[in-house]
């Protein structure tokens, strides 16, 4: 095993334990905990067996395994930004509703 693999496994292992703890303690939703857990496992598998990603990449017509990982990572990030953007807009619109409600409630008495 290369030293890179040792370091990566250590980091992924810690991440997995943190995710598991948070999920068990109900600090994050089970659904969310499951998704993160799967991500750590997938990363560990890809690092332990690089030829696996290469096989999948070739099957999809992508040259190298690293390219496949890169594409998936970029897609995941774009999706992540979008999800955050949608949530931000919702929070902004909720904020406006609260500000409006307060403004009307505190209107000058006549």
């Amino acid at each position: 095993m290369t030293s890179f693999q040792w370091i990566a496994f250590a980091v992924l292992g810690v991440s997995f334990v943190i995710t598991l703890t948070l999920t068990v303690r109900r600090r994050i939703a089970p659904r969310v905990g499951f998704a993160w857990g799967m991500l750590w496992i997938a990363a560990a598998v890809a690092i332990a067996r690089p030829e696996l990603t290469a096989t999948i990449a070739r099957a999809l017509g992508i040259g190298r395994g690293t390219d496949l990982v890169l594409y998936v990572a970029i897609l995941a990030m774009v999706f992540g930004f979008f999800a955050v953007y949608v949530r931000m807009r919702r929070i902004e619109s909720d904020l406006t509703k609260i500000v409006r409600e307060l403004a009307i409630r505190n209107a000058d008495e006549e």
Binding site: E92, S93, T96, V99, R100, A103, I104
Partner: protein
């Protein structure tokens, strides 16, 4: 009763005069102070307006919706939206409400680009601004099908029933297009009336830069698509 909704953000310098002119003509005025840091609320109150205060700045669209909701609650029969920077003329309010009173329209929109030369008012309007507004008119015809000559005029009048149908969700400046969309969607009858718009040194400095048109467009497109 006519209620005039004036959204204001840091307009303490000119707002008093704007409100006084409206109050002098017997209109009820509600100023929505959109989280100003100057003496906007005090100036509005002194001039005789009801003041609603947004605890934090939420944008002109949000402030308009707040003022409209309040005016409806106070039993307004007609609701007029009016800019706080002194660009509009208080004497235009009656002309705006006239078609509503006559039952000809549910909504009346002020326009800078219609009327005989003597009342056609775009005095001092910078040339670049004219071009952008012309583009906005074309865009609006395509996007919402509203055949208007001036899409971004802050002076508008609504009957109570029409105002109750409005639901402005674009908090910032894209509400102008959103209002037109909703007028078309609800099948409201609208009319345009020539109004005066003064381009003063102050209004130019306080107003939107022409570049902001791009941001407004993006906000509008995203807003329509995320509904």
């Amino acid at each position: 009763m006519i209620w005039v909704v004036v959204p204001a953000y840091n307009e303490g310098r000119v707002l008093g005069g704007v409100v006084e002119e409206l109050v002098a003509r017997g209109h009820r005025v509600v100023v929505v102070d959109d989280g100003s840091t100057d003496d906007t609320p005090a100036a509005a109150r002194r001039a005789g307006a009801v003041v609603l205060r947004h605890a934090v700045n939420r944008g002109q669209g949000a402030a308009l919706q707040t003022g409209i909701a309040y005016a409806l609650r106070r039993g307004a029969e007609h609701i007029v939206t009016f800019d706080s920077d002194g660009q509009h003329a208080a004497e235009d309010v009656d002309a705006l409400v006239a078609p509503l009173r006559a039952g000809r329209a549910d909504v009346v929109l002020g326009s800078r680009f219609i009327g005989t030369p003597s009342v056609k008012h775009s005095e001092g309007m910078p040339g670049g601004r004219k071009a952008i507004l012309a583009l906005a008119v074309v865009f609006t015809r395509v996007a919402s099908g509203a055949r208007v000559t001036d899409t971004h005029n802050g002076l508008r009048a609504f009957t109570r029933a029409a105002a109750a149908k409005l639901d402005i969700r674009l908090d910032r400046m894209a509400h102008a297009s959103e209002i037109l969309d909703q007028i078309v969607r609800h099948g409201l009858r609208f009319e345009e009336v020539p109004v005066h718009v003064r381009y003063t040194e102050y209004s130019r400095r306080k107003g939107q830069s022409s570049f902001a048109a791009l941001r407004i467009l993006a906000d509008y497109v995203v807003g329509r698509w995320m509904r």
